[in-house]
């Protein structure tokens, strides 16, 4: 089973983990990732813009691709939008599989794709100045691992 949500409200990482444990059936391994807003360089807030519709379909397509590549028993992705402050959760990705290698790889694959393909954009506020985050070459390099 796959659950994919894009939402303004916060999520509970523990509740997402518990749901994965429940949905995972005979899973032996659950790998998860939580992304949080960092307060680096005086960041006061971050606002996430997104492309409704395309966001959901891009993420669903990559979840489908992950299911083709790895044996996945359950998968959950939650991505927040709107205004967030340092310490806030941004994203949860969790994968339940029989084996740990598959669970870790699928979770990393999904995170790399969220960073480089899913239509989200971050606007950072520091004091009075607002800047759109520029795509990192590092993220592009990271996603290239999965191309085959």
């Amino acid at each position: 089973m796959s659950e994919i949500r894009i939402q303004q409200e916060d999520f509970d990482s523990g509740a997402e983990m518990a749901a994965l444990e429940d949905d995972g059936g005979d899973a032996g391994a659950i790998a998860s990732f939580v992304g949080l807003v960092r307060g680096d360089g005086g960041l006061s807030s971050m606002t996430l813009d997104h492309y409704p519709g395309m966001c959901e379909s891009e993420i669903a397509a990559h979840a489908g691709e992950a299911r083709k590549r790895w044996s996945i028993l359950a998968l959950r992705i939650v991505h927040r939008i709107g205004r967030l402050v340092p310490g806030d959760r941004i994203v949860f990705v969790g994968v339940a599989s029989k084996h740990r290698q598959a669970a870790f790889e699928a979770a990393e694959f999904l995170m790399d794709y969220l960073k480089t393909r899913a239509p989200f954009w971050k606007l950072e506020r520091r004091g009075e100045s607002e800047t759109w985050v520029r795509a990192r070459a590092e993220d592009d390099a990271s996603v290239k691992r999965w191309i085959r």
């Binding site: 492309y51 395309m54 239509p119 954009w121 759109w132 985050v133 520029r134 990192r136």
Partner: protein, 83 residues
């Protein structure tokens, strides 16, 4: 044709979406950009450096060679920065 803008492309153009009648000169994304650039200074500013712009046609990532049709939904935005 429905056109959507996101992130700083939206800010420069000053709107999130609009519906335009596709002129005969527009056949693909590149010629659509040429057409849009002439619509005002916000557009000119947004599309000044096309290397910074990404495009999706009908919610699929594509490139400037992609063919466009009158009923399409075309979105312009900077490289994505999610996660």
């Amino acid at each position: 044709m429905k056109i959507l803008y996101f992130a700083w492309v939206k800010q420069k153009i000053g709107k999130a979406e609009e519906t335009v009648d596709m002129p005969a000169s527009v056949t693909n994304v590149a010629t659509l950009i040429d057409f849009l650039r002439k619509r005002g200074t916000g557009y000119e500013e947004a599309f000044k450096n096309p290397a910074l712009i990404r495009v999706a046609v009908n919610q699929q990532h594509t490139d400037f060679n992609a063919i466009v049709h009158p009923g399409d939904e075309v979105a312009f935005f900077p490289p994505v920065t999610g996660g």
